[in-house]
Amino acid sequence: MPIEVILPKVDMDMETGTIEAWHVKEGDLVRQGDTIFEIGTNKAVMEVEAPASGAIRNIKAETGVPISVGTPVAWIYLDGEAATTPSEPAAAAATVAAATSLPKTESPVAPVIAAVPNSSGLRATPLARRIARQNGLDLKTVAGTGPRGRVGEADVKRHLEERPRCTPAQEARPAPAPSASAPESRLQPFSAIRRIVANRLSESMRTAPHFYLTSEIEMSAARDLLGRLARRHERIGAPKPSLTVLIARVAARILRDHPVINASTEGEATRFHDSIDIGIAMERDGDLVVPVLRDAGGMDMPAMTREFARLREGMAKRTLTPAELGGGTFTISNLGMYGVDSFTAIINPPQGAILAVGRTVDKPVGREGQIVLRPMANFTLSSDHRIVDGVAAARFMADLREALENPELLL
């Protein structure tokens, strides 16, 4: 019997996954353990290995289309097995047919409805279309949350509630048609990760009222501490600490005193977390990924530096699990190394806040009546005003300043 290759469940709450890329094609010989495809979940992209050695046949799954967990996506034929088409896995019918020993080569009694090809046409339920029609709404402007992006009643109603008051004519204005003489351009469909990032960040900007507090903080003491930590880590065989890790360490420490900054939005409630799990925004091959320093509140600098190094390496080698790439309670994004002075970040939902770190640069500042040069950096906290108020965020920023300018106070 050929071995079924199914879309595996790689995350606890995973219901569907998307095949990002096939590493094999029809007829290829694979050895058990070879990577055969990459799967995208709503958190990460992972490689899937061949469950057996043999020839790959009947690749059924298209890339880029969400597929239910457990769906057969290909078969592996062992040596000597005839490469005939196995009967379609038509759910219960096939189960019963197999159990009653119908010859496998016989075509199934039930007609199998061919999978609808990935069409670019709009998917919407009749009810969604009806409501859109009644409201003069162009359904193309509505984000569908149903299967395969289908727009349902709830999506249309949500859109109608949220859309700014504007005329139907404005809503329905079509995008300018591509001109024939336009310079060449390239249309690249979203990767799974790009799609996740797009959806999550759009959702964040749409639903979380962001507000931003910026503090310019003197980094002399932090810089000095980083130097001393580097020497100590060298002595004890820990990796060299980076400023990002130091900021994560300081943030993890003061978040203990600011539970609301470490909280998440959950429906119409605030979820307070006992654990402090800090996500660090990183870039990999043009994609945004956010590995999480789990239980950062309980780590000392060497431990956090080691964990950070491990996450970095895992990210580069794509061995991180979805659990390691999601579920943080707070996020830090540092773009200082690119010379960015300051910026505002979009909150990673359902978290309540994100800290954006700019570069450290010597600036003239007033100290004891003198203008002196000091290394200064801009820290900008984006907060979700549904759960975080201005004063709560300001208190966190005040503590962040105090801790970075006087790290010995953290002792």
Partner: protein
């Protein structure tokens, strides 16, 4: 006895489905001499499922007739008796055997009234124990009601409760047309309230067994009961399911289904017959063709029997027809994720 006392007594009266059918037969025979029973082992043995019971002792062998093993003969004799003014009620021992009576039912009973311009009619009732779940394998477990619902001139009923089993049988005996009643074998022992007096449950009228707002579940016979149980479980999970018991497959009460779907926006049709080309296809198409189409917020889902003969193996037998768990899962997925 004053009538309000009678009502009070009848309210608490419980009978099994089989007893309710027997009571209807007895009451019809008491008031109408033209009514007689006809079938294999319906007399001395009391029926293969004990439905006719002691009727032969009450009414004698002239009116409760054990026939030879020939479904074609039984059905043909019934058609002839009906045309000439009798009210035959025949039992096909297992509904699967009705294949042998097809000519009489489909080509004769169903057509005669039309072909004689209304001058003749065929007031006969056929009772057919059907369905799986008894370990009786492929030739004794089928659900063939959809075949007959395809024939103009026949009426097809599937009562799910003892109350309806009695009321619909009495309505069928009154009806001037041939009526087939499919009785699920697993329902015979189920109990329920049955009033003592002779009453009629109208043919062609569905019953809303439970009101709900999130999804409409349509079923008949044992599937209506499973749907009710499933709806109970769905409610604890925050899903409000409306359960419609069709009771009558032909004529079908489309209005009740349509009104419900207009409210819930989702439709799940559950039936034990083979899913392909079955009752669910007809109901789905009726909704899709109607103006209720515009109120659908998810695809219509059918849960039907597997495209396979009913297996003997009890595990596979169960897997071959929709079960309560399947209904819960499908309805929940339909409401939560927009697909089953």
């Amino acid at each position: 006895m004053p009538s309000d006392t009678l009502e009070a007594v009848s309210e608490i009266r419980e009978l099994s489905y089989a007893e309710a059918v027997r009571e209807a037969l007895g009451q019809a025979m008491e008031v109408d001499e033209r009514v007689f029973l006809f079938g294999e082992d319906v007399g001395v043995y009391g029926g293969a499922f004990g439905v006719s019971g002691d009727l032969v002792h009450r009414f004698g062998t002239e009116r409760v007739i054990d026939t030879p093993i020939s479904e074609l003969g039984i059905a043909g004799a019934a058609v002839g008796a009906a045309i000439t003014g009798m009210r035959p009620v025949l039992e096909i021992q297992f509904s699967d055997f009705v294949t042998l009576a097809m000519e009489q039912l489909v080509n004769q009973a169903a057509k005669i009234r039309f072909m004689f311009g209304g001058k003749a009619s065929v007031p006969m009732v056929v009772r057919l124990p059907g369905g799986s779940g008894t370990g009786a394998a492929a030739q004794h477990s089928q659900s063939l009601e959809a075949w007959f619902a395809h024939v103009p001139g026949l009426k097809v009923l599937q009562p799910s409760t003892p109350h309806d089993a009695k009321g619909m049988l009495l309505a069928a005996i009154d009806d001037p047309n041939p009526v087939l009643i499919f009785e699920h074998k697993l329902l015979y022992k189920t109990k329920g309230h049955v009033p003592a007096e002779a009453y009629r449950v109208p043919i062609g009228k569905a019953a809303i067994r439970r009101e709900g707002t999130d999804v409409t579940i349509v079923g008949s016979s044992i599937m209506a009961r499973k749907a009710e149980a499933a709806a109970e479980r769905l409610a604890t999970d925050g899903i409000s399911a409306e359960v419609i018991d069709l009771r009558s497959i032909r004529p079908i009460d489309f209005t009740t289904i349509a009104e419900s779907v207009r409210k819930t926006h989702r439709l799940l049709v559950v039936y034990e017959g083979v899913k392909t080309m079955g009752i669910g296809a007809e109901i789905s198409a009726m909704i899709a063709e109607s103006e209720v189409f515009d109120f659908l917020d998810a695809p219509i889902i059918r849960l039907g029997g597997a495209d396979a003969p009913i297996p003997y193996n009890p595990v596979l037998e169960k897997a071959a027809v929709p079960q309560e768990d399947d209904i819960v899962t499908a309805a929940s997925n339909l409401v939560r994720h927009g697909e089953a």
